[in-house]
Symmetry: C2
């Protein structure tokens, strides 16, 4: 299923409007999606990076809980609907050119986020030795 949905948000305006204006006019990419970072509202820890189509963003605004577009499953995704790890949005921010969102969330259930069972998806460090990268869980 395509991520493209009807878009209830105003079309992006000029550079000045995008960067300094008060109008939320998110710039969805060619794939119909905008990048979204979720952090723990209490600790600031980065939990995950996911994507939203216009419908997911509209539902997030409407419900106060994070909805994403699952690229792997090709469907709208109410985060936590099956796992219990519902993300309540404490604060939403957008970047200068309105092509990335930041959600500060409180996570329900066991407080985790990653499908591997870890709290955060960023559980591996890229270590570089002799110019060669490798991954280490820490």
């Amino acid at each position: 299923m395509s991520a493209v949905s009807s878009n209830p948000f105003p079309a992006p305006g000029s550079k000045a409007e995008l960067e300094e204006g008060a109008v939320l006019s998110p710039r969805f990419g060619a794939d119909g999606l905008i990048t979204c970072i979720a952090t723990d509202a209490a600790t600031g820890e980065i939990l995950m990076v996911a994507h939203m189509n216009p419908e997911a963003l509209a539902k997030t605004i409407e419900t106060g809980e994070a909805w994403y577009w699952s690229r792997s499953r090709g469907e709208l995704w109410h985060k936590g609907a099956t796992s219990g790890q519902i993300q309540t949005v404490e604060e939403m921010r957008i970047d200068c050119d309105q092509d990335a969102l930041l959600l500060k969330v409180t996570v329900a259930g066991d407080g985790g986020c990653c499908h591997t069972g870890r709290r955060s998806c960023f559980y591996r460090k890229v270590e570089i030795a002799g110019g060669k990268p490798s991954l280490v869980v820490d």
Copy 2:
């Protein structure tokens, strides 16, 4: 110019290898790019979201400074080369399915990051009143 560059990284393996393995095999998207978050290594503040093609990631690993792919300019981008806001990478992390990177950086120059002159690109909050979003600089 297309973001597609030669890719020196191993092709992504199985789901288990991607999620639990020690091999950095980043999953670049159809546009040839991987999403990258930069945070302030000292404070954890989220500074920006940008993108890397394989060449940018290889140069970041090689130099210890952040290189991105500028989608707006269509070129490789050594962050800070003109502004002085060089990002020295203190730590690099990757997420579960290896399609997002996290850089913890120390910023040179005036310590800023955003082309609008702010320290972080996420200088606006999305406020929701009566179900309608608007943007507020805070």
